[in-house]
């Protein structure tokens, strides 16, 4: 029951926020309370300890004649992602406190529903229920971009929706084909994983699933929706897109590809690694050329998600652990940078690196925060991103040293774009003319929390790896 409550809580919280909105800040507090309650509930579930693999696992019938059931399970990976969802939810509310002033009720409802649907994705093990939440998250996220975005927000939102919803058909079609091959009508991933399918069939099914995952992960050449959507979304939208929605793609690949199609994944793994390496280089190089700070960070997301893809495709223990850590590390660093850039934009009305600068003199707190997260962006040792990327590269060395060298070269590119961002914002002549108001507490505390998170995982990665270990073991396709 607790798992269903984890999904229902934000869904209902969104409705409440929608209806209480009006004078005062009630809808904001309702939303924060909802996410805080989720965190409490999550800790209660994890505290039970579970059976070593799953903390909790439930199944209720939904449409029995179709073989669809509400099959939910939670392990360390799901729990981490859900904690991230709730945490980023709270941060999104704080980040949009002064930005969002119109139709605030609907905005907070959309935030809650986006989180509810992603939590559903992180918990579902029935493929159709997974697809249900997979598509459901698009609608509130689309609304966030289309209604409260900047510039050609409707175009960006439409692109986001159409790319992802169309790719979702790959997931749906492959799920139906998979169920049609089973001896009885079922969509349970646990039961479907028992089937012995030939490698070519597995490859085809995997391609169907991957279509949906790759578009959400925005690995080139499936990334065309991302730069606009990230750049034109409101700050909270960018935080949720980068911190959460991209991760659903990574999560889906991490969870279901090795579980359902181990032989198929092993067969296409070299292509996956190559695609990831190319994507990481491409995303990084394009990021180097951006003058819009938000767009720059958006392209770095492409690069980092490509590294996650490489890790999953490599399929060895180091690489998978690295991919999992990188998912979380990127959530912290990208969300924090989007929050900071959004806050800066509210004050200066520009995101152009050529018109900004000298934050170290005008707004030292901003400067310190940018310095920390730009270091995370270039994977400086001590940050969580370093752990993630280093582990991925070590893992790829075990599989193929050519790809590993390619992956290493992306680190050089990341130094270029990260220092460019840092130089453009923090150093140089103070632009625009001071005074510039420094961070308020609503901006300061989220940054502090994410910064401490980045450092803890960076300095003592075992804290996170211990939690993720069962899920990583389950995703192994090679045991070198």
């Amino acid at each position: 029951m607790a798992l269903i409550a984890l999904i229902l809580l934000p869904a209902i919280g969104g409705l409440v926020a929608f209806f209480v909105a009006g004078k005062g800040e009630r809808e904001r507090w309702v939303t924060i309370a909802t996410f805080a309650l989720m965190l409490v509930l999550l800790i209660a579930v994890v505290a039970t300890g579970g059976d070593g693999r799953w903390y909790d696992k439930v199944s209720y019938p939904w449409v029995p004649s179709f073989g669809i059931s509400l099959e939910f399970a939670i392990d360390g990976l799901s729990a981490t992602m859900i904690a991230l969802a709730a945490g980023l939810g709270i941060i999104s509310v704080m980040a949009s406190w002064s930005e969002i002033r119109t139709q605030s009720g609907l905005f907070h409802a959309s935030l809650c529903w986006t989180v509810a649907a992603t939590v559903g994705v992180f918990l579902s093990f029935d493929l159709l229920i997974f697809a249900f939440f997979w598509e459901a998250m698009l609608v509130p996220a689309f609304t966030l971009i289309a209604v409260w975005g900047h510039g050609d927000k409707e175009g960006a939102a439409l692109k986001f929706l159409i790319f992802n919803a169309a790719a979702g058909f790959g997931l749906l079609a492959a799920s139906f084909a998979l169920a049609a091959m089973a001896d009885h009508m079922t969509f349970s991933a646990f039961e479907l994983a028992e089937m012995k399918l030939s490698t070519p069939v597995q490859v085809w099914m995997l391609l169907g699933f991957s279509l949906a995952f790759m578009v959400k992960l925005s690995v080139p050449p499936f990334h065309a929706w991302l730069p606009e959507a990230h750049t034109l979304a409101p700050t909270a939208g960018s935080i949720l897109l980068a911190g959460l929605l991209l991760k659903t793609g990574a999560y889906g690949l991490f969870r279901f590809a090795p579980m359902l199609f181990p032989d198929g994944l092993a067969a296409v793994a070299p292509y996956g690694i190559a695609l990831g390496a190319a994507g990481a280089l491409y995303g990084g190089l394009v990021a180097c050329g951006q003058n819009d700070a938000k767009r720059l960070v958006a392209y770095t997301s492409i690069a980092h998600m490509s590294i996650v893809l490489m890790g999953i495709a490599a399929g060895v223990h180091y690489a998978l652990a690295g991919a999992a850590v990188e998912m979380i590390a990127h959530s912290f660093s990208a969300s924090a940078l989007f929050l900071l850039i959004g806050a800066l934009y509210e004050r200066t009305h520009t995101r152009d690196l050529r018109q900004l600068g000298g934050l170290q003199q005008t707004a030292p707190k901003f400067a310190a925060a940018f310095a920390l997260f730009c270091s995370a962006l270039l994977a400086l040792p001590g940050t969580a991103n370093f752990v993630g990327e280093a582990l991925v590269i070590v893992g790829i060395f075990q599989v193929n040293w050519v790809f590993a060298l390619l992956a290493l070269s992306t680190l050089i590119v990341s130094v270029i774009y990260a220092t460019r961002l840092l130089k453009g914002l923090v150093f140089g002549l103070p632009q625009p003319k001071p005074p510039l108001a420094d961070m308020t507490w609503r901006e300061y505390w989220p940054i502090l929390v994410m910064g401490i998170g980045t450092l803890i995982v960076g300095l003592y990665p075992q804290s996170l790896l211990a939690l993720l270990e069962p899920a990583i073991k389950a995703a192994l396709i090679h045991t070198p």
Partner: protein, 454 residues
């Protein structure tokens, strides 16, 4: 006539009495009373069918069938017509519209029970003639144009249908569906003509031209009757033909699949750049007819359930969207919808949810209907049709999403009247149905499975 036979026919009798009563009351009573008499007739007819749930099918002879889909179709036609009656605002002093609306329901109820060429033709003609009158009811230029177009093309379609029936009869010597079959050239040609006649009513490409005009110019209620009531009745009769008649195979299934596939692609393509809500919905119904035609053409074991399921999910979405269109006055365009959320939250929510459902996104019912559609096609291994559905639906996201966003952005001023209580009630019912079908579809699925059980 036995009691069972009378019970099976009683809904039609009640509807006929209601239509006559509504007509007779025109000179005597106010519009509200005329509408009330029509509403009572529709409700009683639906109740009479619902009371017979579980009763075995009455032996009716060749002309009329009393099976599950027929009962489902009558209840469906009555309830949707009842919904359409709520927002039947013709903007015209004449009071005949409710009577015409009941006539459409009679046509639909006759058609869904058709197991014989005579009933099929009778049902289709009752439907078409009353729809023509309703399209033209406002006596505006566009209304007359839509009605005239429909009249001419409907006449053509009816003659094609009749000729088709005659050709099949010439070779098989049968007029009841069960007797149709064989591989002769006449039957094949007759089947093609029959299909063309039905495709016109079902607004399948290339017989779809009347639909957007009718949606734009006719009162929104009339559009509902044409787009939901009449269309569903035709869908059910095509389903019965597929299940009982043994029409020559390459012509029937592949013809239906070709018409359906073309409707999915072209309907969605033409909808892309429509700035007007009713016109967009008109093209959208063409695409949805296409999806339903594909389900029937697949010929897979669950096709029957899938068709009824699709209709039940499609109806509240279309009803809700058209009711909102009616509430906003004539043919609202995209800018007219701006700021709707602040001016009229209920309408904005109802419209958005309806569009979400038509687009086939969760948590609206349309997603489940799309799942069932994909399942049926994949069960049959029809990957080409799956590709067409995927392409069509992906196009669909574009225009549905444009209209979905409009109520939440910008501001516009409007002076239209606040919505009457009945309309509000109807919208709330539609919202509830869309969400219930989307989140807990098992109940509806049990209903359609029981309906299709022999």
């Amino acid at each position: 006539m036995t009691a069972a036979q009378f019970a099976a026919l009683s809904p039609l009798v009640v509807l006929a009495i209601a239509a006559v009563a509504a007509m007779m009351l025109v000179p005597l009573a106010r519009l509200q009373i005329v509408q009330a008499s029509a509403a009572v007739g529709l409700a009683v007819a639906a109740a009479l069918v619902l009371l017979r749930i579980g009763a075995p099918a009455a032996p009716m002879g060749a002309l009329f069938t009393d099976d599950g889909p027929a009962r489902f179709g009558i209840v469906f036609a009555c309830l949707v017509s009842l919904g359409a009656l709520v927002f039947l605002r013709t903007g015209h002093p004449a009071k005949e519209a409710p009577s015409l609306l009941v006539l459409v329901a009679i046509g639909a109820a006759t058609l869904v029970g058709a197991g014989h060429a005579a009933t099929l033709f009778l049902g289709i003609e009752i439907l078409s003639l009353s729809l023509i009158a309703l399209f033209a009811f406002r006596l505006t230029r566009q209304g007359l144009e839509a009605a005239y177009k429909f009249l001419v093309m409907s006449g053509l379609a009816s003659s094609a249908l009749l000729l088709g029936i005659a050709l099949i009869f010439a070779e098989t010597g049968a007029l009841d569906f069960a007797g149709w079959g064989g591989r002769g050239a006449l039957t094949a040609f007759g089947t093609a003509l029959l299909l063309a006649g039905l495709a016109f009513k079902f607004s399948l490409v290339p017989f779809h031209m009347w639909t957007p005009d009718a949606f734009e110019a006719a009162p929104a209620s009339a559009a509902t009757l044409a787009g939901v009531v009449s269309k569903s009745a035709v869908a059910i009769v095509i389903l019965r033909l597929a299940l009982t008649a043994h029409l020559p195979e390459p012509v029937w299934s592949q013809g239906l699949a070709a018409l359906g596939g073309a409707s999915v692609l072209i309907g969605n393509l033409l909808a892309l750049r429509q700035p007007q809500l009713p016109r967009m919905l008109g093209y959208s119904t063409i695409a949805h007819s296409g999806y339903i035609a594909l389900i029937i053409a697949s010929g897979t074991p669950h096709a029957g359930e899938a068709v009824l399921f699709y209709l039940a999910i499609y109806a509240p979405a279309m009803l809700g969207a058209l009711c909102v269109a009616a509430a906003l006055g004539r043919a609202p365009t995209l800018p007219d919808l701006h700021g709707l959320m602040q001016r009229r939250p209920l309408e904005a929510v109802a419209l958005s949810l309806s569009l979400l459902s038509l687009a086939g996104l969760p948590a609206a019912g349309g997603f489940i209907a799309k799942l069932f559609l994909l399942r049926v096609l994949i069960d049959g291994g029809l990957w080409v049709l799956v590709g067409i559905v995927v392409a069509g639906s992906s196009l669909g996201f574009f225009y549905y999403a444009k209209f979905f966003t409009a109520p939440f952005v910008g501001h516009t001023h409007d002076e239209s009247q606040p919505l009457p209580q009945l309309d509000r009630g109807l919208l709330i019912v539609c919202i509830a149905l869309i969400i219930i079908f989307g989140v807990a579809p098992a109940g509806l699925l049990n209903v359609v499975t029981a309906t299709m059980a022999p």
